[in-house]
């Protein structure tokens, strides 16, 4: 019998990752003030080589990962993503390029398609040129529309992601209308999650409760009108929903992210957490990283949860929420996520929401660029 050949411990091992996210570079032509990348990205080490990435792809696939996302920064700034896509697709991964579209030429698109790229997710920042260019601190709006038409002509479904925040959420009607005009099949409206640069710019980005309610109403109207023609996903913000989310579907349960400089992370923002050692894919195999590394076991399951969560009936549903949010708000990465009303620190969320309601305060945006990153990484 075949099963006798399988060592007993292998039969009881937890499943491998399902999703590999390759953040191939922190370089980016955009300077979005809501970027979730680490504020100190300018301090990151040298980028992985093509061969390093190929090794990561093969090892993750061998563990059963089926989703391969390429993100960044702007992944198109690397000239080897065609090679990575070809390898991943050949191994059976579903390959997804997450891009701002900047740098996607006809030739590049043809090469990616030939390599077997399954899917392109294009980010839009707003529906009007002025607002798009303001929040990204660039002039990219016309280019994005051109890229959307180009990918559609190449036979890709048009999937648009737009991050919502205080300065664009009032344009939502126009944003959805634009997605319809472009012929999008799918529109993700992701309210800003306050990580990285977005946390730094939280006061400037946080919408009021009224703005958010109106946005949800607008979305519902369009959903009813469009039906299956264009799917809209409205991701409610943690702060307002007051529901902690099971971070990445559980720490070390399905998701594996690798940073440009090779750190393997259970969530794409985890490198901000203090007191943890992040294994580098240059030094360790994915199998060890996933199953045995202290990092991936640190917040796995629910045994580590603080007291507030241990006695809570929802602990299996939310695992205490987002570790990064807990750390950013309380300084303790193992605290209950303060967005939970049961958290002893929930007052911090109410205070942030109250701040958003104050009229007349203007907060300048800090744009995500290497200069600001270097400046902010300095202690003094």
């Amino acid at each position: 019998m075949d099963t006798l050949l399988v060592p007993p411990d292998a039969m009881q091992r937890r499943p491998g990752p399902l999703w590999l996210l390759a953040e191939v570079t922190y370089r980016c032509p955009l300077h979005c003030a809501f970027c979730y990348n680490p504020v100190d990205f300018a301090q990151a080490g040298p980028e992985l080589s093509t061969d390093d990435w190929l090794k990561v792809i093969r090892e993750a696939r061998a563990l059963g990962a089926a989703q391969f996302g390429i993100s960044g920064g702007e992944p198109l700034l690397r000239d080897d993503i065609e090679i990575l896509v070809r390898e991943a697709r050949g191994l059976g991964f579903y390959t997804n390029l997450i891009t701002s579209g900047v740098g996607l030429t006809e030739a590049r698109l043809a090469a990616l398609k030939d390599a077997g790229l399954d899917h392109i997710q294009l980010s839009f920042q707003d529906a009007t040129r002025e607002a798009n260019d303001l929040i990204t601190n660039t002039r990219t709006f016309d280019l994005k529309r051109k890229v959307a038409a180009m990918t559609k002509a190449a036979g890709y479904p048009t999937v648009i992601n737009c991050v919502l925040h205080r300065t664009n959420i009032d344009h939502l009607d126009r944003i959805i209308e634009m997605a319809v005009e472009i012929g999008a099949e799918y529109l993700e409206l992701a309210n800003t999650q306050y990580h990285g640069w977005a946390f730094l710019n939280r006061e400037a980005l946080m919408p009021t409760a009224a703005q958010l309610a109106e946005a949800e109403a607008v979305t519902e109207r369009w959903k009813a009108r469009l039906g299956k023609k264009m799917r809209i996903l409205f991701v409610t913000p943690d702060y307002q929903s007051k529901k902690p989310k099971k971070c990445m579907n559980g720490w070390g349960e399905v998701f594996l992210s690798v940073t440009p400089d090779g750190l393997a992370l259970p969530c794409h923002t985890a490198r901000m957490l203090p007191g943890l050692e992040f294994p580098n894919v240059r030094d360790h195999g994915i199998d060890w990283i996933w199953h045995d590394s202290p990092l991936f076991n640190r917040f796995r399951g629910t045994a580590w949860l603080p007291e507030t969560c241990q006695s809570c009936e929802d602990k299996d549903k939310d695992h205490g929420g987002c570790r990064c949010q807990a750390f950013m708000l309380t300084g303790d990465p193992s605290a209950t996520d303060p967005v939970c009303p049961k958290s002893p620190d929930h007052g911090l969320i109410d205070a942030a929401l109250a701040e958003a309601e104050k009229p007349g305060t203007v907060h300048p945006l800090v744009f995500r660029d290497p200069k600001n990153s270097t400046r902010l990484a300095r202690p003094f």
Partner: protein, 89 residues
């Protein structure tokens, strides 16, 4: 008789996944793990076969009869989930 021929929606990719020991539908950032009957039905949704051809094919392959209601119910659900589209030309 319905002349329309179901095909996998191009938003999804259908494949056998060894780690899951199951057919799956892959889509951006997600995966639907299919049970055996769902996998066998979708395997035959190639845009060329009609529903009755799919039923006949399954009945022959699994030496069964009267599968039409089950297949039709599944395809109705798959359609609602957007997993399939219909070729009519």
């Amino acid at each position: 008789m319905n002349p329309a021929r179901p095909a996998i929606n191009r938003l999804f990719r259908f494949q056998w996944e060894p780690a899951q020991q199951a057919h799956v539908l892959l889509y951006p950032e997600g995966m639907v793990k299919l049970n055996q009957s769902a996998g066998e039905i979708l395997k035959r949704c190639d845009g060329a076969r009609t529903v009755s051809q799919i039923v006949a094919d399954l009945e022959a392959a699994f030496n069964a009869s009267g599968l039409a209601p089950e297949v039709e119910a599944f395809l109705e659900m798959a359609d609602a989930q957007n997993w399939i589209t219909w070729n009519t030309d």
